[in-house]
């Protein structure tokens, strides 16, 4: 089970200058790096798709609003059909990669991580 707080009240913590902060432990660092790297690649790809629609609509309107299927224009097709599928596909790829990574990590070291207790 994921981390669970035992108490509601929190205790005061000291602060330190960010430059004096200890480096993260290698395992957490690795997990964060690999998760963020996957996430940011998928997000960049997704945003290229997302932003290409309004950019093309405004700067290549003749093509985007020309008919491709009956009364459906390219723009309409990408905005109301392809984009809906794309939202799910990106999330599916992310979840699949995450679960694969989780499985690999579990095979390498099955010990559960410690939760941070507050209070």
């Amino acid at each position: 089970m994921a981390g669970e707080y035992r108490e509601y009240n929190y205790v005061a913590a000291d602060t330190i200058d960010v430059s004096e902060l200890e480096p993260l432990d290698p395992e957490t660092k690795q997990i964060m790096k690999s998760e963020f790297s996957t996430g940011i690649k998928l997000t960049l790809f997704y945003y290229v798709f997302i932003l290409s629609i309004p950019i093309l609509n405004w700067y290549a309107g003749e093509f985007m609003f020309s008919r491709m299927w009956g009364g459906m224009t390219y723009s309409w097709f990408f905005t109301s059909i392809v984009a809906m599928a794309m939202a799910f596909v990106i999330a599916l790829i992310h979840t699949t990669l995450y679960e694969k990574r989780l499985k690999n990590q579990a095979e390498q070291s099955p010990a559960p991580a410690d939760g941070r207790r507050i209070g």
């Binding site: 929190y10 997990i31 964060m32 963020f36 932003l51 009364g71 939202a87 559960p112 939760g115």
Partner: protein, 521 residues
């Protein structure tokens, strides 16, 4: 036929009865965990359905089809922007947030920095976003009651708030989640039946789009319902491209940024990830919700096109034509349902619309209740509060919220549901989105940085929404995300860089929200 045997009454009563039954079954909330996060017992299917129920509000069920009906491509673009956010939430926030595992959105900031000030700032933002979001949901409910049951707008607001006080106050998160999951499937069923009926009736997407785009002239059968007694003229060309609602390229981009990043900051959606038993289940819940939402948006746009097609032919029942004119764009889905499938389909859609309103409002009520009872009362006024008193405080806060949201609902009688929700998304994108993304992925975020981000994000987005006309013309955005979201992110970053004082245990926090999970073994 007796009034109560009419499909719209019957199906609405069945929905109400089911809500009462589920609420009764789940009324026992012994601990704060039961009340605020449903004992963290919901698997990915139930929670995915509930997230879908929470996300797909009246704005989606009624508003997106309505905007497409009214604006054409610009309405479809609204759906596109709404569809992006859950995916980003699944990628960056869902799993880490569940590993964090507290009760409320404000808990995240309070524990991240060990700070009461941060908690207080978060409470203010939760209440602001929830109020912005709740008002249009109440507007939708009151309009449905008024149009289809003949009640006054004011009665609709009071009735809906009363149902919410009962539903959330008694059932807590457990009852709310199960009701939300059920209500989602009622809505999806209604949409599927409408889509099936439209296709069965030969209203094929590409063909009706062509007929709408080519239509020019007046719409027959509308004269009797217009104030000037003349048939409504319509030019299909205004429906074909962007620029009717978004007058410039930058308005479009601003809307895209505001809506796509807003979901990450919606308190009632963030809260749902605390109710999963694990981070893995949280990600799967998000995936399921995205699948459902994508299908919903696809159907909503298509049904907006179907509604416009029915309206243009002028061959629908006069009652339908009247509703399409008098009800405005918010009532297109019920009117289209009546045209496609008669009274029974209309009845199901009305029940579905109530389900949408109740589902979304209950999420907002529970998120705001957590902010008032758990974050404000129990933290600042009664530190040694018992578990039982915490639950009672949660229930009492629901009554306070019912009154507060009721007043807000009365103030937005003439507004567009879809647009008001878009503004709530912008406030969320400018406040909580930077905090959650940076708080989860950047150790350098400081308490002062987070508070600055919340305050400046909230103030700038509120100002640009409410006092738009005081700004120079180039800054007058319909949805001001392009200005306010960077303000939110930059203020967190710049103030954190200047402050440099991070909590000494920030590494432990990072380890907790990113650590391996025991269930993977």
């Amino acid at each position: 036929m007796s009034t109560f045997l009419e499909p719209k009454f019957l199906l609405t009563l069945i929905l109400m009865g089911t809500i009462v039954y589920i609420t009764y079954l789940t009324k026992r909330s012994a601990t704060a965990s039961d009340y605020f996060v449903g004992g963290r017992s919901f698997g990915w299917f139930t929670n995915g359905s509930a997230i879908g129920g929470d996300y797909l509000s009246a704005a989606t069920f009624l508003g997106i089809a309505g905007l497409t009906y009214q604006l054409g491509y610009d309405g479809a673009y609204y759906a596109f922007c709404f569809s992006i956010g859950l995916t980003l939430l699944a990628i960056f926030v869902a799993g880490p947030l569940r590993r964090f595992g507290a009760y409320t959105v404000a808990d995240f900031l309070a524990y991240r920095f060990h700070s009461r000030r941060a908690r207080l700032a978060a409470v203010a933002v939760v209440l602001a976003i929830s109020g912005f979001y709740a008002a249009p949901q109440l507007l939708g409910a009151a309009q449905i009651l008024s149009m289809f049951f003949g009640t006054s707008y004011e009665f609709g607001i009071i009735f809906t708030c009363s149902v919410m006080i009962f539903y959330v106050g008694i059932g807590g998160m457990k009852g709310t989640t199960l009701n939300q999951a059920l209500e989602l499937w009622i809505r999806l069923g209604a949409f599927l039946l409408m889509v099936g009926a439209a296709i069965w009736g030969g209203l094929h997407y590409q063909d009706i789009l062509a007929s709408i785009n080519e239509f020019k002239g007046t719409i027959t059968g509308t004269a009797g319902f217009t104030s000037d007694g003349k048939d409504i003229p319509f030019d299909g060309s205004v429906w074909t491209g962007t620029g009717n609602y978004f007058p410039s390229f930058w308005q479009t981009i601003s809307m895209t940024i505001g809506l796509s990043l807003g979901t990450i900051g919606l308190p009632h959606i963030l809260l749902r990830f605390y109710t999963n038993p694990s981070a893995k289940a949280a990600r799967r819940s998000a995936l399921m919700a995205i699948g459902i939402a994508s299908a919903f948006f696809l159907f909503a746009v298509y049904l907006g096109v179907v509604g416009r097609s029915i309206f243009l032919t002028g061959e629908a029942d006069p009652a339908v034509m009247k509703d399409l004119i008098a009800g405005g764009n918010n009532m297109v889905v019920p009117s289209t349902a009546q045209a496609l499938g008669g009274e029974w389909l209309l009845g199901l859609v009305i029940a579905g619309a109530f389900a949408a309103v109740f589902s979304n409002l209950s999420g907002l009520f529970i998120a705001s209740s957590g902010a008032l009872a758990h974050d404000l009362y129990a933290t600042f006024f009664r530190k040694n509060i018992t578990e039982k008193e915490r639950v009672i405080a949660g229930k009492l806060s629901i009554i306070v919220l019912g009154v507060l949201y009721g007043v807000l609902g009365l103030m937005v009688k003439e507004a567009s549901i879809g647009h008001l929700v878009a503004l709530a998304f912008t406030v969320a994108a400018s406040t909580f989105t930077p905090i959650f993304i940076l708080g989860i992925w950047w150790r350098g975020m400081t308490e002062k940085g987070a508070i600055a981000g919340l305050v400046l994000g909230l103030v700038s987005s509120m100002y640009m929404i409410f006092f738009k006309t005081t700004l120079p013309e180039f800054l007058q955005f319909n949805v001001p995300g392009i200005i306010t979201v960077p303000i939110g992110f930059l203020s967190v970053y710049i103030v954190s860089k200047l402050d440099r004082k991070v909590p000494s245990d920030v590494n432990e926090f990072m380890k907790q929200v990113h650590s391996k999970e025991s269930e993977a073994a």
